[in-house]
Structure formats: C-alpha cells, structure tokens
Symmetry: C2
Subunit: 519 residues, 2 copies
Amino acid sequence: MQKNNIDDRWIRAVTVKTDAPGLKNNTGDVDRLIKAIEKAFPGPIIVPELSLIKEAPALLRKHGYEVDALFYEEEGRRVLFDLRPCHGENPLFGLAVDLGSSTVVVRLVNLLSGEVADETSFLNPQTEIGPDILTRIHYAGKPGGLAELQRLVVDGLNREVYAIARKKGISPSDIAGMALAGNTTMTHLFLGLDPYWLCREPYIPAINAPPLFKASDLGIPIHPEAPVLIFPNVGSYFGGDLIAGILASGMAETEDLSILVDVGTNAEVVLGNRDWLAACAGAAGPALEGGVASMGMMAGPGVIDRVRIDPASQEVTIRTIENKPPVGICGSGLIDLAAQLYLAGMIDLRGKFVADRCGERLRDEDGIHHFVVVRSKDSGSGHDLTLAQTDIDALLRSKAAMYTILTTITNMVNVSMKDVVNFFVAGTFGSYIDPRSAVIIGMLPDLPLERYKPLGNTSLEGATKGLLSKKAVKKIREIRDTITYIELNVNQEFMNLFSAARFIPHTDKSLFPSVQLLK
Amino acid sequence: MQKNNIDDRWIRAVTVKTDAPGLKNNTGDVDRLIKAIEKAFPGPIIVPELSLIKEAPALLRKHGYEVDALFYEEEGRRVLFDLRPCHGENPLFGLAVDLGSSTVVVRLVNLLSGEVADETSFLNPQTEIGPDILTRIHYAGKPGGLAELQRLVVDGLNREVYAIARKKGISPSDIAGMALAGNTTMTHLFLGLDPYWLCREPYIPAINAPPLFKASDLGIPIHPEAPVLIFPNVGSYFGGDLIAGILASGMAETEDLSILVDVGTNAEVVLGNRDWLAACAGAAGPALEGGVASMGMMAGPGVIDRVRIDPASQEVTIRTIENKPPVGICGSGLIDLAAQLYLAGMIDLRGKFVADRCGERLRDEDGIHHFVVVRSKDSGSGHDLTLAQTDIDALLRSKAAMYTILTTITNMVNVSMKDVVNFFVAGTFGSYIDPRSAVIIGMLPDLPLERYKPLGNTSLEGATKGLLSKKAVKKIREIRDTITYIELNVNQEFMNLFSAARFIPHTDKSLFPSVQLLK
C-alpha cells in the first residue's frame, strides 16, 4: 500500500493517444478513446460521463488525439470523467477529510506523487448548534434543521477548499476526488441523512456502506464529477473514522495481534489481526479529554501536558504546550499528574490525597480536598490551578472503564492481553499521552512500553490511504465485512471488573508487575 | 423476448420485506434492504442512489419494512433508485421514443404488463430551424444554436410527457425509464453533442454507444433518477433508429437470411441473420417519400395510396387515405401508379408516356408531358392532379438507386437475392407500399410476395423492445458489434448497375420473371 504506487490509484490521469479517425476508421470519438485506454490500461469496462462526451470531439482534435484522461474505478467499472491537454504534467489532487464533531481536518494530497500538499483544519460550524452530538441529532428533527446542519458543514468545507486552492495556486477542478471519514452521525449529517434513528434503540444507521457519490451531488466545489468516498460504518457507535483508524494502523494486514484504542468521550477499542477483528465502544467519561477537571481543557498553548514530581521533595515540575504560562491541563497531563502523585505517595491506591505527603499544597474547599498544581503567581490565568479530589475520582472512573473494556474484549475473544504485539493509541490523546503514566495508574495494561504506538489522527491518515489506493479501498470493505462489533453489556461481571480496576493500578497487583517495582 | 416476461425486465419494481432491525440485527436500513433484494432477486451488485438513502429509513418504518423497490440494471450492477409503499399494485411505466427529424413518436408502455398504454406524436420542433438535417447541423454551429436545438426537442418531448401523464391519470414520476431511438444527428442534438463532425469527412460521431443517462441529467421530467437508454449508432449515416429497426424485425435472432429496408431520403438496407449483418445506406432521392412530384406529399387524409388502371379501358381508379377527396399522392401511391401505367402500356420500359395509350389524359405543359390522374372536378384541391414525365423520371432514378443498393450489398457479401427469406420494409412507406407494384417497376426484387413484410415504425417498436427487455438490450449491443457497415462507392460498376436498373422493370428481364408473365 505504498503511497507512490501509481498503478494502485483508483483515481487516475493517464495519457492516451487514440487513432486519428478516417474513412476506414469511423468509430466515434469517445469509443475510440475508450478503446485506447482499455488497450493501454486494461481493467473493468469504461463508462463515460455526459460532460466528457460533450467535450471530447473538439478537445481530441485540438490536441492531436493525445490527451490526459481522468477516470476513477468503482466496483466493476471505470468512470471516465474528464480530458485535459497533455503538455507537461497537469496538477491532480485529492482531498482527505477527517470530519470530526468539533474539528474538521482537510488534507490536500497530490494524487501523482502521493504526497501531502497542504493540511488545514477548522472548527466544525455545527458546534454553533450544539457542541455535542445529541444536541445536533435533536436539532436535525426540527423543520429545516437537518438541511441547516448539512449546509453548515458543507459550507465550512467549501470555504476551506477555496482557501486551499487559492493558497496552492490550483483550480478547485484540479481536485479530482475526496475521501471522508467521520463518525456515523457526522457522516449522516454531511450526506443529509436523518440521524433520528441513530440515537434510538436499536440504533440503526440509514446506511452502513455508502456508494461513491459525485462531488456536485454533495455540493462540494471540486471537480463536479469527482468521486467522493465516504468511509462506511459498522453501526451507530462505530463509525467510518474508526474504520479509517484500523486502515491507518495496518493492524488488519498483519498476523500480529494488535489493539487500537481511540479515546474520547467514548473509548473505542479494536482488537484483532488480518484474520479477525473485534470492536467495542463504551463510555469512558470525559475525564480523559480534560473535560471535567476544574483545570481541565483540550490540548492547546499553555496547557500542561507533562508533570514530574520528585518523590523526595514533592517538588512539582510541569511542561506546557509551546512553553506558555500554564492555564490548565489536558487529559494526558492529568494522567501524568495522577501517576506522579501516586508514585510520590501523595495519593493512595484509592486515589485519595495523603495529607501529610501533600503538605501545604493541599487545602480544603467546601469540604473537598484541592491540590494546588500551579500557584497563581506562576499561572497564565492569574489563579491557582488546582486538582480536586473529585477530579481524581472522575479520572479513576474513566481509567477503570478503559481498562475494563480492554479486559472484557480480550476475555470475550479469549486472548491474553500480553499477546498483544502492537498497542496503537489514536488521536490527539494518543500523541500526547505518556504510556508509562497510563500504565502506572492502571489505565492501560502493563505491556513493554515499546509496544505502545501513538498514531496521531488515524481518521485523517486512513482517509488519505483510502484516497490514494485501490488496495486500501478493498481493505476498507474487508475490514467492514470482517469486524465483529461486541455490544458491551454493563452486567454484574462488568461491574465487578470495573470496581477492581478503580484502584491504582488495580486490586490485582500481579497484573502490573512493573508498577510494583516502582513502589 | 416476450413482452410480458417480467424476469427479463431491466427496469423493475420488486416487493421486498426486510428483517426488522433489532439490537441483534443493527445493519443499516439500506444495507438490510439491499440484502433482502439480493436474496430474493439474485443478480449483479446493487448500488443505491443518494435520494433513496435519504428516504429509506422513514419509509421502511412507516410501511412495516415491506416496500416496492425500483431498480434498473446496467452492465455489472443494479441501481436502486426508489422505494414506494406496496399496498396494491403501483403504476409503473416507461417511454419508448422514436426521435424522427420530422416526427417524434412517443409511446407510453406499461412496464408491468408490457402493453402499450398510449401513443402520441408531434412535429419535431427543430423543423422551425430547418426541415432538413444539414440546416440544423449548420445552425448548431452558431452561438447558442446547439443549446437551442436541444431545448426545442427536449421541451417538445416534455410537453408530450406532461400531456400523456395527465391523460392517463398518472404522475410523471411513475414513468421509471425511457428508451429512445433516432438517427445519429437527432441523437446528438438530443444529448447536446456538437454534430459538427457528423457531416464532414470522415464523418465521426462524438460517441457510438452512449451509456445510460439519468432522466434529470437530460432534463426529462419523468422520475429524476430514471435511466434513459439511447440507442447506439454505427456511424454518422447509420443511426440508432436502424439498430432499433433490426431489433424490431428479429432478423438478428434467426438463421434465415433477411433484408431490412428503410426508405426515406436515404435508403438504408441491412442484410444478414443472427451470425452476421451487413448494412449500407445510399441516397435514393426524395421521390419515394412523395417529396418531388408536383402532386406528391406525405401520407395523410386525402392522399392517394392505391391506383388501379384497367388495361382495356385505361380507366383510372384511386383509393385515398380515409376516403377523403384526393389532394395528392404519397410514395407508395406513386409506385402503384407507375406500375399500373406500365401494365396498361401507358408508359414504356423507359418510363416514357405512350401518347396513344394515354389519350386525352395526357397533355403538354411547357414541353413536358403531364398525365391527369384526377380531374379538378373530382379533386379535393379543385385543381387537376397531374403526374409529369419528370416525376416518373425521378421515381425511376430512385427505384434504380434502391435496386442497385440491394444488388450491390448482396453481391458484396456473395449471397443471392432469391435466398432472402424475409424482406422487411420499414416505416410508413413500408406500411402503405404494395410490394407487387414495387416489384413490377423493378424497385424491389422479384421474390414470392409473401416474403415481403411491412413492419411499420420499427424505430419505435425497437425502442419499445429495448425498454422492456434485458435480452433486447444485450441484443442491441450484439447487433452493434456484429454489423459491418459497407460504404457505397459510387464507382463505374455502381453506375453500370444503376443504368441497367433505370428501366421497367430492368434491362435484364430474366431478373423479373413474374413481371414478364403480366406483359
């Protein structure tokens, strides 16, 4: 699945020379062109678009019957959708889009070289309707609501497309394809599909595996006939972003056992290899996104992402993003902080502050312990940045949920956590997290640290692969057909596992031998 | 290729019941629907249209997961394009269109029963630009000309669609497909393709075999996603109307040798059977359409279509269409008249009037003999209806061209005219012509009369077959792939044959033994 393997592209420009017409060769222009392509580039049957049929005769004659022909391949056929003069190399781009509910990331990809030409992101304009998905689903039910939600995100994308094209000095019609990955609700809203049944039992998407659409049918101002690949979903709670993640990780192409974890409000977990894939998702709580703690926030300048505490002096050292004065803490910083507090004996295995170890940094507010991480004089906000007992409690619930989901899924498919060769952690969270700290608090299993692999934006990376590669498109289908989605039953057994996992690192210390060595 | 074979339809409505969704079956609505169709109606992969994906969830729930699903089949896939409630039988129609340069015939066909529900025709509104094709091609080259020509015919068709739907009490969206046959130029103008290169050496169509189009892409106000089948052409001078004619005749499905003749300004001839087909076209002159003779006109009320002359009394008896007072003569009437004049000895084998046999009906006008067919007192126009010597001369040139084309094509593929089992005569001309008279003047070969089979509007009939039958669609492709178009070279040999054929019936009387018996 090499990016520069041009034969593996499903959106292609090929240079073809047709025979000149003559009294002995009076085949139609487009038919002659199709024959020439089929001869030079064997493959499925070629179907021409009407707009191309209209342009072909004049263009072929003007350029001596030698042109660049643009086609894309879909199951069982190739759609011929544009012709261009072929002096020198015509630009040919595609868009990979990660359609997040809060952030939309757009990547301009050179379809000839396979390289990323530009990348940009914008706030999903649907957040003006509501930051969370349920608010948007509810809004879609109001008169005109669905259309407005669709328009907001499509308009937002369009502004970005025009800006990128202007910046790179290309025409929007040089963008000949798009691949988009998003969760099931985001994808529904993007396509104008009613999300009503997504959030109501039994949680049924309008469609799991959308066909290719034309850009103009979706109102995207790239080449009007350009194909748009929408990543399929496996259900309401397992979207195309995760399929893209699996694709990006490569876990479905190796015999090694891998786990892919994507942490957000939901923790989504995929386990498997090239032969089988099992997935589940569960509420992990917003603590891991920094969404609950009083000082919590999303990663950004001035946000604490690393904490070290000297066990001897209890001295707290922090690192902030871009080294700006600290203003808050993100999920990965929170995990670091909890791990360091635990190692320094400042919280116990139940996560409770140990007063005589915390010293004067611990204070009582309305009967709740608060630990001052950064004093007002050192903070960017002018206020103390504090961690409340309730923040730690929330974090421990989240980490327990995460570990329980991992335990449950490995138990269900009867594999051992220690056989997991690759442990991929996706998303911004995955990029910032220190796996060592996550193991110390018992959020992630006690595996050799080199098995933990941060992957960054796997949704975007998967979309890029899907845009560039026929094999990847095939793989997407295989992943979808292979995957078994396991519904998490929050039953007694789950609750028992969850309770055991609320301790640091776990009630069963033998599960975390490396943590034992540190205490 | 029976019309009522519902399994042979390529545009179909099928009633399907999907499983109800549940926590154990959380497959997407459209995916579940597609699975149900694939199970009940095995076939190529099914691709859903966006509009259907949008409507499916609500419709499926409203109707208990049982619906009528509309799909059409094209090479390698089936396109699912509408869902309808299934209480009782939903109407389902298609349009078959014969797109003539002067007359457009529209047939409403019931896609369930295969029966013709209505038929209507209108003057091709492009005639306001010019009656002949070359004028229209020229006009298409002017700014906005092509778009205007396309708009004229599409608007004309649309008026007819609305009128038919209103008359039959159906919604235009109940019309789920269309098949259109026309000559190559008419088809180009209908699709908005520049006809510039059609009439310039080497006479190249933009496309021979158009793909299926969507009705909405062509501006036809039937179901917006309905497929439109445009009959393919073999070249500028052998259009989809003739492919439709071959299909309608059935000549490509039997081992019997057949000839299909379509006579207009051009005489188009197809010879062959299910294994091979050879075709040619040549200028036959407008005489056969009634377009030259001073009393000539197209078939219509009051037009003479049969003539008998008593050889003893030289008494002329005529029959007119709808028995209206005579106003002119059509091509078939002209052939009848010439044959009867010849048998009565009133014209000789060169077609010259024999003065002493014609008597007082013959008179001289400006040095040219005129034969009074109908006297002013008996005519519907109040004037004498006369046949000039020049009219007979034109007719003999036309009939000679026809016979020469037939001789040339049979010679070229090395078959004998007498081995022709079926001699199909297409068009209005074919319906009115008396083959006996055509043989007498030596226009058609001297075959047993029962071999001559009038077929009526074969373009419309072929379009109807194409609309109704998957096998017919396959056959259209086979016909196109099989046919060899023979360019008629008007060389010395052709001219020799032509000169010999200008006599009545022919200089070589042995070719017309049955005519010899009559004289």
